[in-house]
Amino acid sequence: MIPELGHFALILAFLLAAVQAILPLVGAQRDDPALMALGRPAAIGQFAMIAIAFLALMYAFVVSDFTVSNVVENSHSAKPMLYKVAGVWGNHEGSMVLWVLILALFGALVAVFGGNLPQRLQARALSVQAMIGVGFLAFILATSNPFLRVDPPPLDGNDLNPLLQDPGLAFHPPFLYLGYVGFSMAFSFAVAALIEGRVDAAWGRWVRPWTLAAWCALTIGIGLGSWWAYYELGWGGWWFWDPVENASFMPWLTGTALLHSAIVVEKRDALKSWTILLAIVTFGLSLLGTFLVRSGVLTSVHAFAVDPKRGVFILMLLALTIGGSLTLYAVRAPALKGGGLFAPISREGALVLNNLLLAIAAATVLTGTLYPLALEAMGGGTVSVGPPYFNAVFMPLAVPLVAAMAIGPMLAWKRGDLPGALGRLKAAALLTAIIALGTLYWQTGGPVLAFIGIALAAWAFFGALTEFADRIRLFRAPPAENWRRALGLPRSAWGLTLAHAGLGLAIAGMVGTSAWKSEVIERVGPGDTLALAGYELVFDGVERIAGPNYSAERGSVTVTRNGDTVTVLRPEKRWYPVARMPTTEAAIRTTLLSDIYVALGDGPDPTGGWVLRAWHHPLVPWLWIGIAIMALGGTVSLTDRRLRVGAPRRARGNAAGGHPQPAE
């Protein structure tokens, strides 16, 4: 009964979305307030219906209702509760429901909090948002119904892919979708503004928090995915330039650009049509990501099970959305009036440079990701484009981007003073030089590029701090005055410092682990010792243990340094009998400076030996810390008072359970 209710609610949501897509738009054209006003209740109703469907599906997973085929295929009665819940979005059908749920949530938030928006803009934005909803709800109902029944029901399910049974991955998809789908807001407002033919500072002020919220979620989502790959796949890599990873990275790049160009729209009333274009492209790339993951056109380790019908459907949605919005853009963009002028050396100029580099970087990643498809379509053979390509094209673009990142915030709006800005960065330059030389001294060996990387990281980090120190007049005013100024700074200034400094830390982590990691792999018996980066690893042996839905062989490795025991690591090899899949659980000892990472390989051989693989990853914790700080910076910036001016506070807790509220 409950699955049928869920299915029925989805159909109702589809109908409501259709109403919401058409009537408010017609109302806005005809200047009919009654029709325009329909958008808000429709948006809230659509969200409520999808929420009912989502909860129905979750209920089926939680009570292990094996009459539902999706539950049979992706769950098991012995699975821990967290993964029963996470199993809802650990498969194609369920994750699509989560996708439209978030889409409708954003629509509902506009309906609830957008009371002070111009009515026409709100009506049009809600319509556009609902058009996307119609497309994807039709997709779910036509090709991916999560509520299909099986008869007769099996006694138990097939279990969720064990690799996905992990806390990092349980929360990875919701954050990723919040990011992907969050950009739909910027898209809807961009299209609405194009229909309207008008973009002003108020538009920028309204779009920026949504973009910022989506960006934070996407940053966290990518970070979680990367972290999961690092510890779960058992080989210590954190980024593989896999097509599906690129699919999430491209909207991140253009979304970052959008975040910065929206500042210019808001503050200086310039770069309008570029910002609109970025909003369209960013959401287009999000959709492209959805297409790549679900169609199976590219070989990826992350691909969902493939059904060509689905690929064609999403491709059509993609073509309609991007084609339609770009056509509208071509027709309407020339009518958008440009605003304030600025000199090349200015805050605006720096933000334009940031936008150019990010957009070009996204374009090169896109080229590399789609190249194998193009080549194969032209009969050029099957190829894959690997990490060397991406490193070769991405690094030369990232270097000037990061180098300029420290300088940009120092420049004034309209006309900046470059020598002056550089002069204020003297201390940062000095600290950067000290760090680079220090690295050169401590780390003999390692590629020259690594020192450049560390220097860049230090430059970004100290540059961000210098800007902050300047603002609070550190060392130039008494501490009490510093403190007073720091408290008085707008939250967006805190956000800038945190996000830029966080990126610096993350870069240091990337460079550290790429350039100076060390690895040993050896066949060991109990009592054997491995030497790794100044540590000794003693293999104590292996025992059998039983988990809730798996059995495992757990190794014990004692880590010592100069005779003192540091820790005992317990890497596991698990066997999930229902899914008939083994997984490797690496054991990691982290200090804030580096990780020791141990994975259990093949074994036991006839003499009782096991293959043990151990890594030392210097600085890798900074990567996750840096990403977390970036996301924190974005969140702090969201709480800026300025962003509330455009959207006054309403009573808490309506329709927004547990969701980051951009207007708060």
């Binding site: 199976g296 334009v352 190829v383 070769a392």
Partner: protein, 146 residues
């Protein structure tokens, strides 16, 4: 600075940036494209000795063995028409099994043995790498359409 000038300036900058990006991409493509070959493709091709590529097919039944150093493993990749022996020193992905699809990245040694530097992990046991499926279809050994 007039609006027109600023436009020109921006346009020039964007075009310059795109040109640099295109140049970077082309240079990088030249060296970094990894072609995918099946064992049968390799019969028909002569490769530059150090050229890296991806080899795909099925792990032949009863071909898997450990070499005496305890680390290196040896197995045979087959598309059921031709075979190529592969050596790999490292930890195999969890889903590596005889009879299953596999994609290995590395180079062909002069003695005709493929030296793999990576054996690709697949997250899902029902997931067959598309290239492997295509290669099997080509050699007429594809069974069923899962």
């Amino acid at each position: 600075m007039t609006r027109k000038k600023r436009r020109l300036y921006l346009l020039g900058l964007s075009l310059g940036g795109l040109a640099v990006a295109a140049a970077l991409a082309l240079i990088a493509f030249q060296d970094n494209l990894l072609f995918f070959y099946s064992p049968s493709d390799l019969q028909a091709k002569t490769l530059a000795p150090e050229q890296r590529f991806r080899l795909g097919g099925l792990v032949a039944e009863e071909s898997f063995e450990h070499l005496s150093d305890g680390i290196t493993v040896r197995f045979v990749v087959t598309d059921l028409t031709n075979t190529i022996p592969v050596v790999f020193a490292g930890i195999l992905p969890d889903l590596f099994r005889e009879g299953q699809g596999v994609v290995a990245e590395g180079r062909l040694r002069a003695d005709g043995v493929f030296e793999a530097s990576d054996v690709l992990a697949k997250h899902d046991e029902t997931y067959m790498p598309r290239e492997v499926a295509d290669a099997l279809k080509q050699s007429g050994e594809w069974r069923g359409d899962e």
